[in-house]
């Protein structure tokens, strides 16, 4: 099995291995988004009309689901990264399983708040 295919395999994996696979997957997704975001920003240089037509296309209820999933990837990558940094410096190593559960809970809470905020932002509520 090719290395990246292993990221999608869950059978027989520990929670830490799944967290590791998700960290790399979200990292790749965010890198692709970074390139798209930089390309998207080119529209600012093209003037108000071009920029606003991009905004009118992308800041819409149809795109909201992609934005919400992207934010989930970003929050997961950030929170899991902080967890890895803690362990790297030997902190909280004894309670690493609890820390993993806490970090998943933090991801879900922050994601729900951010998603609600994005929903009201796009819908103009």
């Amino acid at each position: 099995m090719v290395m990246w295919q292993k990221w999608f395999s869950v059978k027989g994996k520990s929670l830490f291995s799944i967290a590791f696979s998700l960290h790399r997957l979200t990292g790749v997704v965010l890198t692709i988004y970074l390139c798209m975001h930089l390309a998207y920003l080119t529209s600012i240089r093209m003037g108000k009309e071009v920029f606003e037509s991009f905004i009118a296309t992308t800041v819409t209820p149809q795109f909201l689901i992609f934005d919400i999933l992207l934010v989930l990837a970003g929050i997961y990558h950030g929170v899991n990264g902080l967890r890895l940094i803690l362990h790297e410096f030997g902190l909280t190593y004894e309670s690493r399983k609890s820390i993993l559960y806490v970090s998943v809970a933090i991801v879900l809470i922050v994601w729900l708040i951010a998603s609600y905020r994005m929903y009201t932002f796009v819908m103009g509520v």
């Binding site: 520990s14 291995s17 920003l41 920029f51 940094i85 362990h87 790297e88």
Partner: protein, 122 residues
């Protein structure tokens, strides 16, 4: 300690040089703050945050220029250093590490250069 942690989680550390690994951690920490601020500024402050005039006014301010320049630098480094670690972890990367290193460094330069260019226009 770090070397006791799950072997799979330490893949990235094993394939990167010590300095590149430490800088990956530092850039990750800095990005947590900068990306949160960027997201807050564009989605939480007001509904008008994405209007052309406000975007241009932010990009024209020195404080925002410095913040965005730092954001582009750290995000480009963190992203392509991470991609480099993934590629070095493959059979191809193990066989041709110089190719992987050069391509990722080039991608970092293009992303940082292009992002900075956008800031210089305003």
């Amino acid at each position: 300690m770090a070397n006791e942690i799950n072997k799979e989680e330490m893949h990235t550390k094993r394939v990167l040089e010590p300095l590149a690994w430490i800088f990956q951690l530092i850039s990750g920490l800095i990005l947590t703050v900068l990306v949160t601020f960027h997201f807050y500024e564009t989605h939480f402050v007001s509904h008008e945050a994405m209007e052309y005039e406000l975007v241009v006014s932010r990009l024209s301010s020195l404080g925002y220029k410095i913040m965005y320049a730092l954001l582009v630098f750290f995000v480009a480094f963190h992203a392509f250093n991470g991609v480099r670690a993934i590629l070095l972890d493959t059979n191809f990367g193990a066989k041709y590490p110089q190719v992987v290193n050069s391509l990722c460094f080039l991608a970092f330069l293009i992303a940082f250069g292009y992002g900075s260019l956008l800031l210089l226009v305003f």
